[in-house]
Point group: C2
């Protein structure tokens, strides 16, 4: 069913690849303001969160929760934000964002608040490696 899945060009441009999990492609937003993952179900034609096929929805929920727990653990974040908005990029994607009371947007949502600050050379890769290592224990 995922033969025609192609990652939206905006998501592709703004992120780095973390991993392909059974349902979702896990991406890291290239924004050093916040540890910020995006999970994109590798299925064509999804727009709203409730569009996810019944055979995928429990697995996808598990992947969202797993990503959230791992990111919270490796960053020590006080709060996780989860969101499926998609007003600008129509391809279904789920935000998993680690929040701190000291971060640039706190306590507001991160979207549209501050321009992205690209990771310094190698810093995104370090976070990805840490995430994928921790994922083995979840």
């Amino acid at each position: 069913v995922d033969e025609t899945f192609v990652l939206h060009e905006k998501l592709d441009a703004d992120t780095m690849l973390v991993a392909d999990w059974p349902v979702a492609r896990v991406l890291l937003m290239n924004d050093a303001n916040y540890p910020w993952l995006i999970l994109v179900p590798r299925r064509a034609g999804l727009r709203d969160y409730h569009d996810v096929a019944s055979e995928d929805e429990v697995a996808l929920l598990g992947e969202v929760n797993k990503a959230s727990r791992i990111l919270k653990k490796i960053t020590g974040a006080g709060k996780m934000n989860i969101g499926a908005l998609g007003n600008m990029v129509p391809q279904l994607h789920i935000h998993v964002i680690a929040r701190f009371e000291t971060d640039a947007a706190w306590p507001d949502p991160v979207w549209g608040k501050h321009a992205a600050v690209a990771y310094e050379a190698g810093a995104g890769e370090v976070l990805i490696e840490k995430f994928n290592t921790a994922a083995k224990e979840f």
Copy 2:
């Protein structure tokens, strides 16, 4: 397990009761800018979305998706926004918001964008009645 559940006073003040579903209390935000539901799992001590107990998480996901489908259907919205943020109100609550390209905040997220506009007398109740009637078919 839900004996000590008490709805957070801020959520109580900002919303109208729609229904109690098996896991979540369904609330309507008293903001005529957007058809906007909030689902609050009736369990004490939850903060992050990944805190939901494994015996509740599939049912809660079903309730979120059901609320989203119903609200989309009865409002004719073009897009649904789902979010679990909780930076200001620590009690876990899930936003289910019907979005239109003509709404006050489009295409931005609704949070922190415009002050709430209370429903005119009876208008919130009409939407709640419509929602609960449609819910019987879902």
